[in-house]
């Protein structure tokens, strides 16, 4: 990473750290801020799978559920401390991801999409019936996390846990994609044949990509459970609809970019909220949809590239302008 990029990330982290207490947001908006970062973690995980490894998943809502219920079960029933439960949720969801990755060895493209979709539906159904684990329709109440006697009761204090984890996972992702593993994933994405011909074990990396992606989502699931404080298997975040939302996040933000995953998650979480505050309430969803379509049309590579494109345009404009001046002077 060059120095400029480095500095801009640090500035971003500073803003993310300082803005919430300065703005002193009302609870509901702080909750939304927490939520958008949790979704950003899912989006980064999904982007690792889709943007970098070239696989597809329409079942990430289900991974989120696996992570959330694992964490709830560990803390409530087995009385495991939150932070250990958090890591375990990531790992267990990661194992589930590896299992889902196995059919991916045989399936590609649309077929893989359908298989993961099936997984998404199955998990929600299983969790709805499996009441001893999930509490079923009456739900369960995951506790607020505690560390050294400090209880993260408020959305604001919890925000910092999520923020730190997001930063850690961004750094982890960054290290994955810059090293051998990342190069192998991208090679597999670009050309499976050539990757094999170079001696890359494609089966291994496909399963690894699913495992890693599910690990991120499991961590996010655990964070989600303890943010919510009450959940049922019918929660929207665990549904197929949410899985499609996650897909929309990375497409809008930018496939194959970390920053795009975060931008996409923030937009997809906040946009419906903002439009629902417009005077014409019934139009909220239509406006949200229209904005998404517009973004996809004007920034087909995602918003993460919008900055670069704007800069490019300005430079071209400037160059033209300069040309004109030069021509005038010559005349």
């Amino acid at each position: 990473m060059n120095a400029k990029k480095y500095i801009s990330w640090i500035v971003l982290i500073l803003i993310a750290t300082l803005i919430p207490p300065i703005l002193n947001l009302p609870g509901s908006l702080q909750y939304l801020l927490d939520l958008s970062l949790i979704y950003a973690i899912v989006a980064i995980g999904l982007n690792l799978l889709m943007g970098y490894a070239g696989q597809i998943s329409l079942g990430h809502g289900a991974f989120l559920a696996v992570g959330a219920y694992t964490s709830a079960y560990l803390t409530l029933t087995l009385h495991v401390p939150f932070f250990i439960a958090l890591i375990l949720s990531g790992l267990i969801t990661g194992i589930v991801g590896i299992l889902l990755g196995l059919p991916a060895l045989k399936l590609e493209g649309n077929y893989l999409a359908i298989a993961t979709l099936g997984f998404g539906v199955a998990v929600t159904q299983i969790f709805a019936i499996w009441t001893s684990f999930t509490g079923g329709f009456s739900g369960i109440k995951p506790l607020k996390p505690e560390l050294f006697g400090f209880k993260f009761n408020s959305y604001l204090s919890y925000y910092y846990i999520i923020l730190i984890l997001t930063i850690v996972l961004v750094i982890l992702t960054w290290n994955i994609i810059r090293t051998k593993v990342g190069r192998s994933l991208m090679a597999m994405r670009d050309s499976e044949i050539a990757a094999k011909a170079m001696g890359i074990n494609v089966s291994y990396y496909k399963t690894l990509a699913f495992g890693l992606s599910a690990f991120y989502t499991g961590i996010a699931g655990s964070l989600y459970a303890h943010l919510l404080g009450f959940m049922t298997p019918y929660d929207y975040a665990f549904s197929i609809g949410m899985s499609l939302n996650f897909l929309a996040m990375i497409v809008i933000g930018g496939i194959g970019t970390i920053s795009g995953s975060i931008i996409g998650a923030i937009i997809m979480t906040w946009l419906p909220q903002i439009t629902s505050n417009l005077p014409i309430k019934s139009l909220s969803q239509i406006i949200t949809g229209a904005i998404i379509i517009a973004v996809v049309i004007f920034y087909p590579n995602g918003i993460a590239y919008a900055g670069a494109r704007l800069k490019d345009k300005f430079e071209k404009l400037f160059a033209k302008h300069q040309e004109k001046i030069v021509v005038k002077i010559e005349k």
Partner: protein
């Protein structure tokens, strides 16, 4: 060094190789020539483990390798540069080359080899941070060969390196192949461009619908009337035009 004995391979129910026997000596450039669909690429895919043969034996330096997974075969020193320059378009030139060194254990020598490869292909050094998908056709072909070299092959297999390139670029690439060979890498070259291939090869096999129909020293084949007519675009003995 490498021998294929009575190899049969198929895609699904379609038998493509119908009993191929080929011998490659260390230090040679061996060419496999033939028209589209003769089975040239299938031979390479079978050797590199991307395709399992139905019958027959493949031995590399005294060891059976047929049916082994591709990553193991690469680590033994057989590296293929696939047809149609299957580079990784989303990665930079340098990252493509690093992928080439994927199976190597001697990580310390990699930067030295990178220098050597840039010596063969100076243009790749100029463009090492460029995204590979934006290279020209000739440069992509160079990258595909360079990437294969990064694996430090004992046997380098090239699939149609001349495909879709301007004659001048083809000549340049074939000269580099010769240079690589002179520094000790055995080369198996699959080509439709028989003229260029025979110009640098020591030995050649001619393939027709899955069978070797002719083989011999490149010199002899070049002067063979039948080969001239069919593969070198020469005049047929019967024609009296000019």
């Amino acid at each position: 060094m490498l021998s294929l004995i009575d190899i049969e391979s198929s895609y699904g129910y379609v038998k493509v190789l119908k009993g191929i026997t080929i011998e490659i000596k260390e230090g040679d450039i061996v060419a496999i020539l033939g028209a589209n669909g003769a089975g040239k690429t299938t031979i390479l895919r079978t050797i590199s483990g991307l395709l399992k043969p139905d019958r027959g034996k493949i031995e590399f330096m005294g060891e059976r390798i047929d049916g082994k997974p591709p990553e193991l075969i690469v680590s033994k020193g057989i590296v293929q540069s696939p047809e149609g320059r299957e580079i990784f378009p989303g990665l930079s030139v340098l990252e493509n080359l690093k992928i080439g060194a994927y199976t190597r254990k001697d990580k310390n020598n990699i930067s030295k080899d990178l220098d050597r490869i840039y010596h063969y292909f100076p243009r790749l050094r100029e463009r090492q941070n460029q995204i590979a998908g934006t290279l020209s056709g000739g440069e992509q072909q160079m990258l595909a060969i360079a990437r294969a070299l990064m694996a430090k092959p004992k046997l380098l297999m090239l699939d149609e390196p001349s495909l879709g390139l301007a004659p001048r670029v083809v000549k340049e690439i074939f000269e580099i192949i010769k240079e690589i060979n002179q520094e000790g890498v055995t080369v198996l070259l699959v080509e439709q461009n028989a003229r260029q291939a025979l110009a640098i090869a020591n030995y050649a096999y001619i393939l027709q619908t899955g069978l070797v129909v002719m083989e011999g020293k490149a010199e002899d084949l070049k002067n063979n009337e039948e080969v001239k007519v069919t593969y070198l675009g020469g005049k047929s003995p019967g024609s009296n035009v000019n």
